[in-house]
């Protein structure tokens, strides 16, 4: 298993009041498996990804990702855990503005020592996402679709075991959205890494013919199987 969650709850505190954000009794994702998580806004989809990436600590329960329990680690160990195992793709791509497309890919593996990515490998990754001609372009010169493809190449840069994608097509028009998800899924398959995509877009979720899980508001229900 690449992800194993048991009795996970997350609560946000505002002053003395606490608000439940997530409640998942059990949830698993296998090696190289590709899973879409769908649910309405505020259902805790992004919160789940943040917990899996070690960016947020759960209130209770256990979360194991890539054989590691991020919640039990210190801040630096969690940083190293991300550097070694997990890549994160955001809705707004979060590319570094002062870096070219190639440099954005290179920085994706900059903290994953001893693994090292050289320029030729970064170029190959950008070639894989169809951006060979955009190696030296800065994000401000790239279209939104191109930026997301750079983000995919950057996510693949350190050869992670798990890629977490939070609304990766949220900023794209439907035509480009389907293409980007297909690219992401194909690339993950080629690189042998598991993929968890969070999306509230039905058309995106429908492309996951293998498995889609649905999160209800503030607690989870696992719906294993094809989209319904």
């Amino acid at each position: 298993m690449v992800i194993s969650v048991k009795n996970l709850t997350v609560e946000y505190r505002v002053g003395s009041a606490s608000f439940p954000a997530l409640d998942i009794p059990a949830w698993e994702v296998g090696d190289r498996e590709q899973v879409a998580i769908s649910g309405p806004s505020g259902s805790g989809k992004s919160t789940l990804l943040n917990v899996l990436a070690g960016l947020l600590s759960p209130t209770s329960g256990s979360v194991e990702a890539c054989g590691v329990q991020p919640a039990g680690l210190g801040e630096s160990e969690r940083d190293r855990f991300r550097a070694a195992h997990v890549s994160y793709i955001f809705q707004t791509f979060n590319l570094l503005e002062g870096y070219t497309a190639q440099e954005n890919v290179l920085v994706g593996a900059a903290f994953s020592a001893p693994f090292h990515l050289d320029r030729a490998e970064a170029r190959a990754l950008l070639d894989r996402v169809g951006l060979t001609h955009r190696l030296n372009s800065y994000p401000s010169k790239l279209s939104i679709g191109e930026q997301q493809r750079v983000a995919i190449a950057r996510a693949l840069a350190k050869k992670p075991r798990l890629i977490l994608a939070d609304e990766p097509t949220g900023s794209l028009d439907p035509r480009h959205a389907a293409g980007v998800v297909t690219l992401l899924r194909d690339a993950c398959r080629e690189h042998g890494c598991a993929l968890v995509v969070v999306s509230h877009e039905t058309k995106i979720v429908e492309t996951f013919d293998t498995r889609v899980d649905f999160l209800k508001l503030n607690h989870a229900l696992a719906g294993v199987g094809g989209p319904s």
């Binding site: 630096s76 707004t92 570094l96 903290f111 990515l117």
Partner: protein, 417 residues
């Protein structure tokens, strides 16, 4: 992508504030370097072996005034010394030799000193260094041998475009409006090679010519031949070394006491007097140094402000780096390295500019004062400025680095993701 590449990338990303911080530090450091260098070299220039003189025999008056007049061709002699008293001092067992001179004349703003011709053969303007007229040293012509001949110091010759054969009429006095010896046409027969000392800034005529210039009264004219009535401005004295070494003869203090007790003269030891000069002008030094330190401190404060302000703009980038796996220590080191890089680049640039300022001003100072400065001089500031700026750069970068260390990843990504 390695850590140094990420540091450079970050600096390039906010190049304007980086460049401004580098320039402001360079400005402060260059001021510090140039002030320290000029200050130390001035001190060295004024204290280097008393410019070849162990002691100056001069009239009663201010020892500083005598030193400035005899060695730096500034100010005026406060009186005269009798030739007989000079001969008496010369006969003292510890006095090796003496070179009498007369000051008080000038030409085109430069002093015209009448001096014994042994000045050109025996006098050492620096240890082992004699005046030269050899073309290979930059000199021309020869020492004067006739009463109406003169030689020019290198700076005078250059400033007044003097050539061998050029003639001039000396002014009787050193102030504008003083009368000119219109009937005394004196011809330059030699130009001294540059020495880098104030001796380059004077014109020299034969010792006795001083008395025989037209316009001087009969009593002065008489001094050329009658030694009993002769008065001189002063004399450079060389004192015998003890045991052949370089140590000052302890008997010099006794001779100084004897001369100073007399009614007609005093013995001035330049190495004792010149530090007094620095005592008088020392506050100017301190103020200049203080201004330079203040500018450097302000530059480092600017660096601090620039880093803090850049950090505000970069919170998203730093959070993203953390998300990609950079540890807190990495982002701490990133900001600190930027601070150190900017500080050290500014300091190195400042050292180079500071030496450039010394190089540019040294020519001006040499022409104006005859003192020689070199941009290659390594001052105390050169030794301490780099480690000091390194430490201050670390201090300036510490708070922004700590802020970067404490940066919350989700809080700074959340509005965008």
């Amino acid at each position: 992508m390695r850590f140094p590449a990420i540091v450079l990338k970050s600096l390039r990303q906010h190049w304007l504030s980086t460049a401004l911080a580098v320039v402001s530090i360079a400005l402060g450091v260059s001021l510090l370097i140039s002030v320290a260098s000029l200050r130390e070299q001035t001190h060295r220039n004024f204290t280097q072996e008393g410019l070849g003189v162990d002691a100056v025999l001069g009239p009663k008056g201010s020892p500083l005034q005598i030193t400035l007049n005899a060695l730096y061709h500034l100010d005026e002699m406060p009186g005269k010394v009798s030739w007989t008293y000079y001969k008496k001092v010369l006969a003292d067992p510890i006095v090796e030799s003496g070179i009498p001179f007369n000051t008080g004349h000038s030409y085109a703003g430069f002093r015209v000193n009448a001096i014994d011709d042994r000045f050109f053969t025996e006098f050492e303007y620096l240890p082992g260094q004699h005046f030269s007229f050899k073309p290979e040293d930059g000199g021309q012509g020869r020492v004067f041998s006739e009463a109406d001949e003169a030689v020019a110091g290198a700076d005078v010759a250059r400033a007044l475009h003097i050539r061998i054969g050029t003639t001039f009429n000396p002014t009787c006095g050193v102030n504008p409006g003083d009368p000119v010896h219109v009937n005394d046409n004196i011809r330059f027969v030699g130009i001294m090679a540059p020495t880098g000392t104030p001796h380059d800034r004077a014109i020299y005529i034969p010792f006795k010519t001083f008395y025989t210039l037209g316009g001087h009264g009969a009593d002065v004219q008489d001094m050329a031949v009658n030694e009993e009535h002769r008065l001189i401005s002063g004399a450079y004295l060389k004192v015998k070394r003890i045991r052949g070494g370089e140590a000052q003869n302890p008997q010099l203090a006794r001779l100084q006491y004897d001369v100073n007790q007399s009614a007609g003269a005093q013995l001035v030891i330049p190495n004792e007097v010149l530090p007094q000069l620095f005592g008088i002008i020392g506050w100017v030094d301190s103020v200049l140094l203080g201004i330079a330190l203040l500018v450097t401190a302000l530059a480092l404060l600017f660096l601090f402000v620039a880093l803090v302000s850049a950090l505000r703009e970069r919170r998203r980038d730093l959070a993203l780096l953390r998300c990609l796996g950079a540890t807190r220590r990495t982002v701490f080191g990133l900001v600190l390295c930027e601070s150190v890089f900017i500080s050290m680049l500014g300091a190195l640039l400042g050292v180079a500019i500071g030496h450039g300022i010394v190089a540019l001003s040294s020519e001006y100072i040499r022409v104006e004062t005859g003192l020689r400065f070199t941009s290659a001089y390594v001052s105390q500031a050169d030794i301490y400025v780099l480690p000091a700026v390194l430490v201050l750069g670390l201090v300036a970068g510490l708070l922004p680095s700590i802020q970067a260390y404490r940066l919350g990843v989700l809080r700074n990504l959340a509005p965008i993701s």
